[in-house]
Amino acid sequence: MGALETVTVAMVAGALRVSTPFLFVSLGECLTERSGRINLGNEGVLVLGAMVGYATSYHSGSPWLGIVAAALAGAVLGAVHGGTCSLARVNDVAMGIAVMLAGTGIAFFFGKPYVQPSAPQLPRIPLGFWATAPQVRSALEVSPLFFLGIAAAFALHWFLRATRAGLRVRIVGDSADAARALGLSIDRVRLLATVAGSALAGIGGSFLSLSYPGSWNEGLSSGQGLMAVALVVFARWNPLYCAVAALIFGAAGALGPSLQTVGVTKGYYLFYAAPYVLTLVILAATVRPGRALRGMPGELSIGR
């Protein structure tokens, strides 16, 4: 294989793996933000989900049970964030960072005994069975969670667009006055959207420990939970675009390691930063004073 193909294969493989946690966290963040609230605590949810998923898989022997446990742990942390933010005058940006700290701390606290032992991992679907090159074969071993995430993106898109509950989420997110006029309980809708969003983020965390990189340690997350906020802005609060954005961000993150396979070891941090520069450029180019970003929920604190 030529250098270009090697890089391409390695990048596709990396993108499929690196993007999955991004995908789940950004979908969760997207749902929460569509209800009019921002959750920076998803970073803590991600780490806690990784730890709980790993520990559950280790004790029960079933990685699938680990995913369920990670989602539940995420939901609990989401309930803390959603519940406290329902109180008047509590700032959701600051509370998110506090929840991030608490979630990370709890994960490290209980996760210490699980750094050494190895837990059963999720299976991978060998989509590269047709290829002869071993690199392509290993590149196309895709986690079922990736497909679950893509399915979740479509499901969330349909939920927001075509269901009664989804319409309620959008109303609460776009105009609290309209929601009050309709007699909707704003706090309850936002609480449920935060809990569900954090459960999705928890699943994203379980991917980190149960599939790729596939172990539990304290340096597992590289800030994907916080980056999800930028990613959702990039995706204009659209779940389908979130999937695309997750692939782009994942590919950018995978570019460095894949360039290393052909001996290019310099400059990959700059590629890694490229999607953020792009996000900023898009923001600066499309926003004008007095006009909100297209697709941005009107009630979002970061929109005012």
Binding site: A98, A107, V229, V233, A273, V287
Partner: protein, 371 residues
């Protein structure tokens, strides 16, 4: 029926009530102390239940936290050492917050400030050290100021949300930092932990005589006091607070809102950049990944806990530093993981931030009238 003549008569009792209620400012100050204190007690109680569930003694735990944070001269120094960078990164949040801006990108300004300070020191080998340190401080502060001012510019000129912009810029800044430290500026001798060349032992900021404290602490305290004066005792600070209170009124008054936004961001960023310079010049001696320690994020929380009052930042940073300093002792004595202190800090942050909702709810603290 209300006629025009009734209006002053109706308004008068309220005005008289305000004049009579002289103790209200005191009670308002008491509210500002009581609410976080109640939240602190609540968090401590919740954490005690957590410890009981784990079969550990809360009494022994809190005794050790006190001992590890403030019990001995050594632990007090450890506490203050940890508080020092947080004073400056919290200012990076608290100053723009006067204008109603939520800046969460202090981490980026800190690492780039540290990097710039290191770069500034490298060609000055053999120059009089205090001069080198001054140049380093200026380079660090200027870089941090530029980085956050960029967020302010985007906000003022383009209306880009400052929270998202500063977060994204923090990631870009950290990526830039990693690129420089592992690429063009890397000292080839640093194998395991990529670092830049050192600034040289002569250029390090020594401890304050008689202590092991580095000068970051007095710098941070002075910066907090100066910022308090700036915000509450100058017309610029007043203009900033007016803008934060009501943007439209500020614009109608003809206040230079755009300039204030960029200025406040630059000033906050300068402090974060200075924090990076102090970390390099007093602790690490070179720029490497140790600078990315989350001081920027802790600073956000401290600023919010202090309700963006620069003088409130000092006790909050000391509280957080103290809990962090007790970590080692807890690990040795109670066999608890070192993350225990992070859990406790998380409990405290959540409780104090949630206590924001108590303001205005308790009648005793509110203004009284003879209605």
């Amino acid at each position: 029926m209300t006629t025009l003549a009734d209006v002053p008569a109706a308004a008068a009792p309220a005005a008289r009530a305000d004049a009579a209620d002289r103790l209200y400012p005191l009670r308002r100050a008491a509210e500002g102390v009581a609410a976080p204190l109640a939240a602190l007690l609540f968090a401590a109680a919740a954490f005690a239940i957590f410890l009981l569930a784990l079969g550990k003694s809360p009494v022994a735990f809190y005794a050790l936290v006190w001992k590890g944070a403030f019990g001995t001269w050594f632990s007090i120094q450890n506490t203050l050492q940890r508080a020092a960078p947080l004073l400056l990164t919290a200012l990076c949040v608290a100053i723009p917050a006067q204008l109603g801006l939520v800046i969460i990108g202090g981490e980026g300004a800190l690492v780039l400030g540290g990097l710039a300070a290191t770069v500034a020191a490298l060609p000055l080998n053999g120059v009089w050290p205090p001069l080198v340190q001054l140049v380093m401080a200026l380079a660090g502060a200027a870089t941090g100021a530029a980085w956050i001012a960029l967020t302010g510019l985007l906000r003022a000129r383009r209306g880009v949300n400052e929270t998202v912009a500063s977060l994204v810029l923090a990631y870009i800044g950290i990526a830039l930092f990693n690129h420089m430290v592992e690429g063009p500026l890397r000292d080839p001798a640093s194998l395991n932990k990529p670092s830049t060349w050192g600034i040289g032992d002569a250029n390090m900021l020594g401890p304050i005589p008689g202590t092991e404290l580095h000068p970051g602490l007095p710098v941070g305290v002075i910066a907090c006091v100066l910022c308090w004066v700036l915000i509450y005792c100058t017309s610029t600070g007043f203009a900033a607070r007016v803008t934060g209170g009501n943007l439209r009124a500020a614009m109608l008054q003809g206040l230079p809102v755009e300039r204030l936004i960029v200025l406040a961001c630059a000033l906050g960023g300068a402090f974060a950049g200075l924090a990076g310079m102090i970390e390099v010049a007093a602790v690490h001696g070179r720029a490497n990944a140790s600078l990315i320690a989350g001081y920027g994020y802790s600073g956000i929380l401290i600023a919010f806990l202090a309700r963006h009052n620069p003088l409130g930042i000092i006790p909050m940073a000391v509280l957080l530093g103290g809990i962090g300093a007790a970590g080692g002792l807890l690990q040795r004595r109670l066999d608890l993981p070192d993350a225990t202190v992070v859990v406790l800090q998380g409990f405290i942050f959540v409780a104090i931030l949630a206590s924001e909702t108590l303001y205005g709810r308790i009648a005793w603290f509110q203004p009284r009238g003879d209605r």
